[in-house]
């Protein structure tokens, strides 16, 4: 597109868009929310005056993305609650993909089977890693809270959670292979 020639920041955005989505998905906890944020960032970029000389464009790009997240967190606490409630009422997300309510019977059976796989994989984690994972990821405690409950350091909790994610990915992530942002 013509406008990227004189706008290195927009050009870099288009080049690194999928990495931005990967970063935002980790932070926001959902690919859909990450895509939303990436789109907002795009609109912000195309609506501003191009700045040809930027010393560190990649840092600026991520700074803008983080600021967008902060703005959203502040301004949209209400609608976030609404969205979450809406998701809980109307649909579920599996692997970041929204599944409509009342799925066809075969889909329901497939997701029930997948849920059993998820539960079994979590249940068979090594004890400490499994506990850290359940407290942090399933019950939503922060690393610090998990550390307090388990009587460990925050660093140790992070190590356990990371080990759990690695083991769970090795066990659950093989189907299809591609599962991340497009």
């Amino acid at each position: 597109m013509a406008q990227t020639d004189d706008d290195p920041l927009l050009a870099l955005y288009l080049e690194r868009r999928t990495n931005l989505v990967r970063f935002l998905a980790a932070r926001a906890g959902s690919l859909a929310a990450a895509e939303d944020l990436a789109q907002d960032l795009y609109l912000k970029l195309v609506s501003r005056d191009p700045t040809p000389d930027i010393s560190n464009p990649l840092a600026l790009l991520y700074k803008m993305a983080l600021n967008l997240m902060l703005d959203r967190a502040r301004g949209e606490a209400r609608s976030a609650a609404r969205d979450t409630a809406w998701r809980q009422v109307e649909r579920t997300e599996v692997g970041g993909v929204a599944i409509a309510d009342e799925p066809p019977a075969d889909e329901a059976a497939a997701s029930a089977q997948r849920l059993r796989q998820l539960v079994a994989a979590v249940a068979e984690l090594p004890p400490q890693a499994g506990r850290a994972f359940r407290l942090h990821k399933l019950d939503g405690l922060s690393h610090a809270e998990t550390a307090r409950v388990m009587g460990l350091s925050v660093k140790a909790v992070e190590k356990h959670v990371s080990a759990a994610l690695k083991a769970l990915t090795a066990r659950l992530g093989a189907r299809g292979g591609a599962g991340g942002p497009p």
């Binding site: 980790a26 939303d36 849920l115 998820l118 004890p127 409950v149 990371s162 994610l165 990915t169």
Partner: protein
């Protein structure tokens, strides 16, 4: 598969899991530190395609587990798996687990109870909303939904007790629909009906051409009652975010394509964004924004593909910028403005 390769994959997966854990626990208070971490992460991804693959795998599994957290937690409370896991836990640990469970339960209750209390209106008479050329308007409905009308649009809204109904007579609008499972939100546009399963999408009906683009959630597009039930147009489609449906009224087919919803609904921010769209579509859009009609007298030129962003301010300025995106020159005509192929422009 060699042993070294497996070790390499294992190590990458460990690095990917470490990165994800770091990104998901932003204990860095300072924005600049977070930026530095993000840049380091981006550089790590860019360093090797295998890093990207490993991270995507860890991310997909993590998001899947997080989304299924409530169901997994419940299985642990109910099932034999959970009892076995409980037996392995020390008494001190059990207390922490119970406190954590209580916190999570409280959070869940708060989220499910809050929304939409008091929004159950019984039903209302139809209300009409019309925008003139160049006018855009946001309407807040009594149920909490919002409709943003593009220029030159007309629609009517009926909030019934069992159904929320909108008829889009002409034009384009972005719908942000409040969840209300008891009252589906249905939009009639020509010979299609759009049933809302999700929340945010753009519907456009101009001169018998219908398009629906989904930004968030799920949307169903079905033939209206009485529409011909043959061929591809005879069936319903369920659209996901980033999908677009195009249909000419009365025609036997429906096109599905990928679309950038931010581009489609960019008119809300006073901009039009196109990626590989025909010039005729751009001109049709501009003619809804400005009083002076623009015409193209060359059917081949009308099909020329256009990509770029047009900021909607002054009509002459917009046409000048359009000339940078397409090989056109603008001539004044008795009716308004005529676009001709600019032979001097590079093909």
């Amino acid at each position: 598969m060699s042993e070294a390769w497996i070790r390499g994959e294992d190590a990458r997966r460990a690095s990917a899991a470490d990165w994800l854990v770091r990104l998901q626990s932003p204990d860095l208070a300072d924005l600049d530190e977070q930026v530095a971490e993000a840049v380091a992460f981006d550089n790590w991804l860019a360093a090797h395609p295998a890093n990207v693959a490993a991270y995507d795998a860890v991310l997909a599994v993590t998001l899947e587990l997080q989304n299924a957290a409530a169901a997994i937690g419940k299985a642990f409370e109910d099932g034999p798996v959970a009892r076995a896991a409980l037996a392995r836990r020390s008494p001190a640990a059990t207390r922490g687990w119970l406190i954590a469970g209580a916190l999570a339960a409280a959070a869940t209750v708060a989220l499910t109870v809050t929304p939409f209390a008091g929004l159950q209106t019984a039903g209302s008479a139809p209300k009409s909303y019309v925008t003139a050329k160049g006018e855009r308007r946001a309407v807040k409905l009594a149920d909490g939904s919002t409709i943003e009308l593009n220029a030159g649009s007309a629609l009517s809204v009926t909030l019934g007790a069992h159904e929320r109904h909108v008829t889009l007579a002409e034009g384009e609008a972005v719908f942000d629909v409040a969840a209300d499972k008891a009252r589906p939100f249905i939009i009639a546009a020509g010979d299609r009906t759009v049933r809302v399963v999700g929340t945010r999408f753009d519907v456009r009906r101009r001169a018998g051409e219908l398009s629906v683009t989904v930004e968030r959630g799920l949307v169903e597009v079905n033939p209206a009652e009485g529409a011909p039930h043959s061929g591809m147009a005879g069936r319903g489609f369920r659209l996901r975010p980033g999908q677009r449906l195009d249909h000419r009224e009365g025609a036997g087919e429906v096109q599905l394509s990928a679309a950038d919803p931010a581009q489609v609904s960019s008119w809300r921010a006073g901009r039009l964004i196109y990626r590989d769209r025909p010039l005729s579509e751009v001109v049709a859009d501009l003619n809804q924004q400005f009083a002076k009609p623009i015409a193209i007298d060359d059917p081949v030129l009308a099909q020329t593909r256009v990509s770029g962003v047009l900021v909607l301010d002054d009509q002459d300025a917009v046409i000048r910028r359009l000339a940078l995106l397409a090989p056109i020159k603008a001539l004044p005509s008795p009716q308004g403005v005529l676009l001709r192929r600019d032979e001097a422009a590079k093909p």
